[in-house]
Structure formats: structure tokens, C-alpha cells
Symmetry: C2
Subunit: 330 residues, 2 copies
């Protein structure tokens, strides 16, 4: 059973999940290389994953998208929700849910190369899973993320994303919501709505734009080529997204990931949904969005865990390079 | 001139330093490999760095330690300290100081293999530089750090550390001090003093111990094999360290880095001093310390920038492996 431990200085919760260390890693496959073992996410290998929780059928039979429990979960069901004190320290069982969305049966298909409707299926599945997981009142936050590539910590190549339902919101999420609440108290507007307005007027950090979504390289980008996707209309909870907006988001995702792939060789990235804790009411001060953080090889390791970010590519340069489709070399 | 930009949601400051992207990187040396160009930190190549700011003489002539200005600085002198508003955004010139401590003239010497007295020289140089930089009242924080190895974002192999004097404390530092202040208000004791006491009693997370310093794998370790070094006696400001304690710290550093190197193949790490802002008074609630974060290849990329940490090696297992000198394989 994973364990959640609280740092007594920060109040930061950390998951200690030893069994997760046992998961296979395609990027570290020794003799024989990546092809030496059968990918558990490929069609035909369904036996090597836990059973299907949710799926969408393919036209010719079989599935086009599958959701399964993560075989090596960061958090899992069962155990107690009790907070246990050990002197100055606090810990609790690593209670929660960890699911994997297998985005396609095709091992070599990247999200940006899938038809927009197929990406919209992935987005609608995210919505469906959040709505399902939040039925459990013990699940306070649902984190949706995608790790792509070796430098982003991905262990399998096959296109997939992950959903973690957890018993508390991560500290960084709470700090972000607090920051937005403070902005709202001071100015009476949502900071993200103001960012959308500012970036649409300034233009030089816009990477993609349609009727529903805006993608920008943020003003204070921590990482080179960091890109955020924001809904243009205010909305605090991702899971209120409608079917039509899911298609617009899919198109934005395809454009942004396509541009990043075109400009950055051997692209690795972490893509993270930021949204309100699922049991909280609709809020005027917070605005869900997606943050995409490219992990350029061997760059910026220091910022990890220090909060002291040094970025060598300005967001204006990054947007210009991405929009021109120019190759960038570190 | 680098620029400092403030994220309007978090209040997080980010340094945008485009010229730093031009620095040479030994780990990405193409044809010819690492030996193809002359290391600017080796004895004899003093011309390829900015002039010496401070140095210690070697017995047979020449130098045994050198401090120079960073040729590709994250922050630099000159420019204005004015905070400029651009609509909802804030920015200022990247005013500050960025120095490099070349720890030895020997390219292939690792810190842990140097004699304790030579490591103590490095520690005493850190103290000397902080005392010097804090003379400028515009320097509010001095960050001392060492990036070792490719995965830690180091660009040169030659043993070196870095010192950045900056016009504000990084947000993460302020949050840590706030967390410690809250603990102090609630319990009347320093949280780090309580950690020292708890870990000395528990024993199972201790990696090194002498009369002055304690090294432990912290209870809520974010990274596998994360190790902290804490002075046993309360002290908020690193720069108050005396010459004798510098030797004790050098011995602890040698032990800890030696154990990490023995257990972890191809070790990369970030080593960061956490200390009070230099213009602030001695504080009862905060305790300076060192955090060492091994960067195990291609693991845990996701935690970067999310604050959601998953660690697959418990700190108790990590301490046991390090103390047994056992090889660990991911």
C-alpha cells in the first residue's frame, strides 16, 4: 500500500510508493531494446493490464480507447483514511485511484497525429472519468496528466495519459488557487480571464487560437517553450466541458503539440490539467487550464525542487519559433 | 541583460536569461566528444574565464581554488532595480551577481575524493563570498548550489559550484521560512531542531553523524535518495559558520556524497544551501541546511513543476542501502 507523508516544514504531501519502482520501463530496456518485450497497451495484449474500466469501440471491432487501473499505482483503494501522527510527522495510507487512459490501440501514433475526433474522444473520456471519480466524497482532487518521452519520466512509449484521484489537493494547486483568489479580491476579476484578454491584445505569445481556446507561451515561463491552453470563457472546473468544446480543445491540443514536435527535436513533455478540487463549488476566481512543459534534454535540472527558475528562451522568442515552424537547437 | 518576470498568479519570479543559452555544454559536445575542447576551469586556461575574484594559492605555486564571475550569468550587475508594470505583469532588470567557485584545478577530481581540508576550503570560500556579497544592501538572498552531472543540468564536468546574489528571496525559500515560522508559533520550537532530535532518536534515516552535523534521508523525501545535512546546533544564517565547523561540514559532505556515489551508478545531483535572506536578523524559527537531490536518469520528470511528488524508494530503505554501501539499480 502506498503511503502519503507530510513534510513538517512545508505542509507538502509526498507519496512513497515502493511497488511503483517495479514497473517496466521501455526506455531502459537492456539487451534487445524497446522491441524486446510486448507493449502491454497494444491491441491483443489486454491480458497484461488490469481489466478494462471503460472503453470506446473501434469501427471494425475491438476498441479505439481503453481505460484501465494503473498496474503500479501511486495511490490505491482500500486502507484507512485516518491521519496518523508519528511524533512531529504525519502520514496516512495512500488511498486513492490511479487510472491509465490508453489513447489508441496504435503503438506509434502520437496524439497530435490522431484525427481531431479521436483526440476529442480522449478529452471526453477525461471528463467522464472525473465525473465518475468525484462520486466518491473521499476524492478531493483529480489530476489528469500525460508524460510523453524519456525526459518527461514516461516509462512506456505507447500513447497514454493518467488520472489520479486523491484524498487532498496538492499544495501547488492550493497555492495557485490562493494566488488567484488574492488577485480576485484586489481587482475583482479572474487573473486567467485577464491573461486571456492581455495575450489576445499583445499577440506575440499566442501559439494557437480558436473560438473556444487560446494557447500561449506564458509571460513568466519557467521552462523554455512552456505553453498553456486556456478556455476563453471563464470556467473553474474542467469536468463541466461540453462535447462541442471537447472538439475545440482537441484541435488546440493537436496544433500546440504539432508545433512543439516540429520545432523541438526528440520532444519530451509533461502535460498537466489544472482545475478546482472536485468537491468545491464553481468559483469566480479560478479558471481551469492546461500547462505543457517541454523537458529539453539535460537542461534546467536545477530548478527541480528549488522554485528558482532560469529560462534561456523568452516566451516571445518561443512563440515566434513555434509559429514559424523553425527548428530550435539547444 | 537578463530580466526577472513575476507570474501574476503565484507571485513566482522567473529569470529570463537568453544569453545563458549560449554557454558551452560538455555533455552535448558533438563530434570529438568531451575532450574536443579545452575546459575553461582547468589550470592553464584561466584566460577563457572572466578574471579571478578570489583565490587560494596552491603549495607549489598556482591556485588550488578560484572564484570567477559566471561568463553566462543568470543575473548581472548594472541596470535598474525599478519594478516595471506592463498591464497585469511585472518585470525588472535581472540585477544581481553570479559567481562560479572552481573547487580544484584538477578536472577529474570529485568533491568527495578531495582531502577534508580542501573541501573545508570550499566551504570557507562560500562563507567568505556570502559575507562579501551581503555588503550590497540590494542583495537580499544568496543562493549557493552545486549541479553535478548531466541529469542535474550541469554543463561542465570540472568540479565547481555556483553562487547567485539576488534582489529578492525565491518564493520557495520564503514559503519554507513561513512554514517554519508557523511551526514555531504553534509549538515554540524550531522545526529543524525537532527534526534533528527525532532523527537522532529514530536512527533509521541517519546517513552521517558527527559532533556538529547530521545527515538524514528526510521523512517526506520528494526524490529517491534525497539527503539533507543539518547543523545540530540551531543557526539561521549559514554565513555565521566558523572555521572549525567548516571542517566538520566538509567531512559530512565527503561521507554523504561518497555514499551516494557508491550506491547510485552515474550519479547526478543538485546540492542546495537553504539559509535566511542575508539582510534579515538571526531567527529562532529557521535553521540553515543543505538539501541534496539525486537526479536518477529519466525518473520523476513529472514532479517537476507540479509539486506532486511520487517517490518509489522510502527514506528508510534509502538510508539502509547507503549505509550498507549496496548498489541500487532502477
Amino acid at each position: 500500500m502506498p503511503e502519503i507523508r507530510k513534510d513538517p516544514v512545508f505542509g507538502r504531501w509526498v507519496i512513497i510508493a515502493s511497488e511503483r519502482g517495479l514497473r517496466p520501463n521501455e526506455f531502459r530496456a537492456p539487451a534487445g531494446g524497446a522491441q524486446a518485450y510486448a507493449c502491454p497497451f497494444c491491441a491483443g495484449n489486454e491480458e497484461s493490464t488490469p481489466p478494462t474500466i471503460y472503453s470506446l469501440p473501434a469501427e471494425g471491432g475491438g476498441w479505439r480507447l481503453r481505460v484501465v487501473r494503473n498496474k503500479y499505482p501511486a495511490l490505491e483503494a482500500g486502507g484507512s483514511s485516518e491521519n496518523r501522527h508519528e511524533g512531529i510527522y504525519d502520514r496516512m495510507d495512500g488511498l486513492g485511484i490511479h487510472e491509465v487512459i490508453i489513447e489508441t490501440p496504435d503503438h506509434d501514433r502520437r496524439l497530435e497525429d490522431m484525427p481531431a475526433e479521436a483526440v476529442a474522444d480522449v478529452v471526453r473520456t477525461f471528463v467522464q472519468r472525473v465525473k465518475e471519480l468525484k462520486q466518491d466524497p473521499g476524492i478531493k482532487y483529480v489530476m489528469i496528466f500525460k508524460n510523453h518521452g524519456r525526459n518527461a519520466g514516461a516509462s512506456l512509449l505507447h500513447p497514454h495519459s493518467q488520472i489520479v484521484g486523491m484524498p487532498m489537493a496538492p499544495l501547488r494547486v492550493l497555492q495557485e488557487i490562493d494566488g488567484a483568489a488574492q488577485y480576485f479580491r484586489e481587482r475583482g476579476t479572474c487573473v486567467f480571464c485577464d491573461i486571456v484578454k492581455t495575450e489576445l491584445a499583445f499577440k506575440k505569445r499566442v501559439v494557437s487560437e480558436n473560438a473556444e481556446f487560446l494557447a500561449v507561451t506564458p509571460y513568466a515561463s519557467r521552462f523554455s517553450f512552456e505553453t498553456w491552453i486556456l478556455p476563453r470563457a471563464h470556467s473553474s472546473h474542467f469536468e463541466t466541458l461540453t462535447g462541442g468544446a471537447a472538439l475545440a480543445l482537441a484541435e488546440t491540443l493537436k496544433t500546440v503539440l504539432g508545433k512543439l514536435t516540429a520545432s523541438l527535436a526528440d520532444l519530451s513533455y509533461n502535460l498537466i490539467f489544472h482545475t478546482m478540487p472536485v468537491q468545491d463549488a464553481e468559483a469566480g476566481h479560478y479558471h481551469w487550464h492546461i500547462e505543457i512543459m517541454p523537458k529539453l534534454s539535460h537542461v534546467a535540472g536545477f530548478e527541480w525542487g528549488t522554485g528558482f527558475y532560469i529560462n534561456t528562451v523568452s516566451p516571445e522568442d518561443a512563440a515566434e519559433i513555434l509559429n514559424a515552424g523553425r527548428k530550435f537547437k539547444f
